[in-house]
Subunit: 307 residues, 2 copies
């Protein structure tokens, strides 16, 4: 009922990294996708199957050194229900290999509809007398624009099933300030969203001091990371924007607490496409992903001391 | 590249209604779901197949009098990838029957990820040399909290493929004001979001004066409907909250322009579960849905004069 499970993994691996599994078909090496395209033609089904195989090998290559994966739902929906099946299978496989799984869906709605999203991604639904788990991730990213009505339905499931959420707070993109930086009585909207995260999470605080309600705060805004870390002492941060979007490890360090905890940093493309950057044999794509994950861990650990 | 197709249908049917296909398995009459549960057991697959059959009959019963359907993605995701397949099939079937289809996904992200959502729901993706359409809806609901970076990727596809989006502006729920009503220099956040909708849609204005960028404005806030209608003259409104959530037709009328256009009103449960309210034979569920759709049309048309 907090992020304790995730934080324990981070401590034992000494690595506050989450690998983003945001796979496009073009990332999958030709040798790997060929058999699927031969079998099912140039179809969404073939693409989805190839991506699952690719994800599986990435997971195998990093699961002993990276505590978590984050699946960006958009890249699975792009391949229709076949892609969504690959998302489902990837979540199960990553959990089987002991990883903590975050579904990055930025879902948002109210009341019964938000309960349906909760059941879908973090909970279960009942068919007749049987309980079925549709996706079964450990955590879900959500958007809080609709207010408490959109967040409250998630909380009972977080408590009962030891799951978590990350609420969009200050996102990493250049135009994030259009709404998020607007000042209300001198306080930016993102900070107000942060205050609500503290409120929503208040009765789910775990052993490390963090609740089940986390926040997304971009690596590209280091000053805000520092001020929000102070303002939101019980809120775990999911930090996108490392590397590709320009967020450096030195700036990210401000999002961590004095014990080197309280944040997890995402990297997607740099890990998935490391074999392209390395220009190694494409059959070594998973090995290259592992080497990039190690490089990133060392980069972060230059600035962050855990424990 | 606007909402002209939708508005034409509304005019010819004299009905500014969208039927919300937000099906829970418990809405599906026993006689209809029995064969699926017998065949596939108490599984997500059986539930998803039963729901498709149910949706199909509702669509058949209303497609000549209701211009559009809105599929709430949460209720499909709740049944895993099988449910998402039912969403896909329902979208195709509704379009085949001539209906305008809105996917209510409230999706949001930035850059390449938002492009992936766009390809998934409104566009196409390329596998080898083949173009595949994953979901193929006419319009998608989106959340604008991330700013222009989250909306811009949708616009080229709206233009090229004659699709539309509805951006969450002032939602129908009780706590929507927590963030949306906050005043920035005297202007509430929802109005600022509305101003951006006008800006984002500026070069996609169609024959009826409305752009491809619509907004979600709840039926439960009639005063805001009136003020936003004035503030956002080129923005089509999707109005949830009629009936079940307490929004009445008289109040909704303020969301329409002087020609009786510019808005479409959603009803979900009241249509889907009309047979329960009527207490008629459950085998007449689709007939009851049609009767409720007619009742709603008449209720709205008491206050709204089209043309």
């Amino acid at each position: 009922m907090s992020f304790d499970r995730l934080i324990s993994k981070i401590i034992s691996m000494k690595n506050p990294t989450v690998a983003g599994l945001d796979p496009k078909l073009e990332y999958v090496p030709d040798y790997l996708k060929k058999s699927f395209l031969d079998e099912d033609g140039e179809t969404l089904k073939a693409a989805a199957k190839a991506i699952f195989k690719y994800n599986q090998q990435i997971i195998d290559a990093i699961c002993d050194i990276v505590p978590a994966v984050k699946l960006q739902a958009a890249y699975y929906e792009m391949y229709g229900h076949h892609g969504v099946k690959t998302m489902e299978r990837t979540i199960r496989y990553a959990r089987l290999r002991g990883m903590y799984v975050i579904t990055d869906g930025k879902r948002n709605d109210i009341g019964a509809t938000m309960e349906a999203y909760t059941a879908a991604h973090l909970g279960s639904c009942t068919i007749g007398e049987s309980e079925c788990e549709p996706f079964g991730a450990d955590a879900l990213t959500v958007n809080g624009y609709l207010g408490t009505d959109g967040i409250a339905p998630l909380l009972p499931v977080c408590k009962q099933r030891d799951r978590g959420i990350f609420v969009l707070c200050k996102t990493s993109n250049p135009s994030s300030g259009e709404f998020q930086d607007l000042l209300i009585d001198g306080v930016p909207l993102y900070a107000r969203m942060g205050d609500k995260c503290e409120e929503w999470g208040a009765d789910t605080i775990g052993a490390y001091g963090y609740s089940a309600v986390g926040a997304v705060v971009g690596a590209t805004y280091p000053e805000q990371l520092v001020s929000l870390r102070e303002r939101m002492p019980h809120t775990m941060f999911l930090v996108p924007g490392y590397g590709a979007q320009g967020g450096g490890a030195a700036g990210i360090a401000g999002g961590f607490d004095k014990n080197g905890l309280g944040a997890i940093v995402n990297s997607s493309r740099a890990i998935l496409c490391a074999y392209k950057k390395e220009q190694c044999d494409e059959r070594d794509f998973a090995g290259a992903a592992r080497r990039e994950a190690i490089r990133m861990r060392e980069d972060l650990m230059t600035y962050i001391k855990i424990g």
